[in-house]
Symmetry: C2
Subunit: 357 residues, 2 copies
Amino acid sequence: MNIRHWVRPEVLDMAGYQPGEQPDAARPFIKLNTNENPFNPPPAVLQAWADALDFGRLRLYPEPSARPVREAAAAAYGIDAAQILVGNGSDDLLTILLRTFVAPGECVAVPEPTYSLYHSLAQLQGGRFVGVPWDQAWQLPVAGLLASAPKLLIIARPNAPTGHAVPLPLVAELCQRTTGVVVLDEAYVDFADDNGLALLRDHANLILIRTFSKSMAMAGLRIGLAFGPVALLEQMHKVRDSYNVNRLSQVAAVAALEHLADYQPFLQTIRHERQALTVALRQRGFEVLDSQANFVLARVPPGHGGGRWWLETLRAAGILVRYFGNDPSLVDHLRITIGRPEEMVRLLEEVDRVLHG
Amino acid sequence: MNIRHWVRPEVLDMAGYQPGEQPDAARPFIKLNTNENPFNPPPAVLQAWADALDFGRLRLYPEPSARPVREAAAAAYGIDAAQILVGNGSDDLLTILLRTFVAPGECVAVPEPTYSLYHSLAQLQGGRFVGVPWDQAWQLPVAGLLASAPKLLIIARPNAPTGHAVPLPLVAELCQRTTGVVVLDEAYVDFADDNGLALLRDHANLILIRTFSKSMAMAGLRIGLAFGPVALLEQMHKVRDSYNVNRLSQVAAVAALEHLADYQPFLQTIRHERQALTVALRQRGFEVLDSQANFVLARVPPGHGGGRWWLETLRAAGILVRYFGNDPSLVDHLRITIGRPEEMVRLLEEVDRVLHG
């Protein structure tokens, strides 16, 4: 017997999703590579966490469906708790979506480039993955997405790694025209000008997902939310692990949801820094897409190294950014997370040092 | 379009695994229904948690492979960190195992009755589930398990809900004779007389799984460990979510692993109470299997109600136990978690009240 006999061929043949580098705490990198929030949660939230931590109950299983989180989210977002499913991060929700709706051989369609985990999860499920290039000016390729009669369509809005957000009416059109289920991945939506929550009322085949890893500064705690029709969520509940969200993260998520307004100042700061960085990089010869997220995608200027060279040059200077060299359309691009103002100053100093010696 | 078009038939047609009742904190039940530890972790562990909680880093993603946990577990159990994979509870590990090794239509074989989640996960994966009755005197039905040429075999040892532990040489024989992968689910092994760790040296197709939800009193934190050959674990890493174990649970697990000896006193107490409860229930007319776990399976005495009646009678008295009425072989049985000594006294008082009015 050997491993080829034991392991599913889809798993054997895939490389596996590669997350961005998570350096040791001991190494003082400026970390602009995985779109974390550079600020801690607001003091009121941290205090609520400290107050709510009850070590005396951690021996007990958590509430299986994370009901306290669903109820707090229902109050915060004005929908019903039954329309919410909580995941161990939004990656868990994406896994659940693939396993609920996609049988082996069925099609998953996404506009590309986008979050590459969608491709990995489709492979894992034995689905047929169809990546459709964005239309001109990064528009949603509605016809192209529909052409393969997909069972599941996933639109990241704002998209990663481009940062752009397709118009909501095109998402609505996609929901109406497809026979499949549409997932609107709103991981970065708290940094954007609008969101798709209102679309839920009109579409029985639309599921939104959110994460607390970006705007809510809780990447370490693994909380994601899915919003969608009760009939679909009931099926997804069968697929998720019974106790997928631990007690401490449930406590932390409730406290965060009860203090949403306190997050606004640093969300504003990040939007402001995003605009400032976009301008500053363009002045230095980078091509930068307008972004609605907490990162920008920047094409490096000609005349120096390519994307990988910039990645390594910045890393040597203690600055981590993200590079997607496996995608031929992105070989000259860097994705740079918006950090604290002083981190943006350091980044630009380093860019100037590279450009002007 | 309707839901039958969107949802995979395997998912639509299944009921979904039903975990035991998790009552509100406000309701003062004696909770003997989901095999949690009745004691809190040792003070040294709670202190280590408090010391290690670093709210200032929760905005960052956790170490993707939970390396600190793997290293602490490697030191604690005398194996290599590369032979360990950490799950969001052992349920997560079981999901990963099914998705790594079982293609649709392939066979999953288990002796029954056992942990019913195995069946649910096999259904979810589109696998063919074969439940083989335990041999006489609860022996491992080796020939029966091999008969279906399974891709994956799962043996819970100690088994739930019976509490018995099959001899390790039979597990070794199964590993040698099967062409599939054998999973030894050791969720309850810290309450047993021996464990299967030494078998790993001799079998390239054996994976052990452990959980911190029972002996380590951390059900609320969701930590499971898989021990196995590096070649198999490498494939499982591709299947797990990139950041499946949150930061706080990683911190808590490391602290627990560094204080394993401190858990011994309450593990001893639980073993002692298990023996005392077994004797006390037998004296009262229950048939009780010898258990190696932190629960006992008891057949209720004739002349009163059946299993469901006892479940409801005890519940009305504020005592939760587990009942598996869906399994015809268990309709007259209760699974009772070993609680604190005073909880066992209350249970027996209530049993006496039922029996003698």
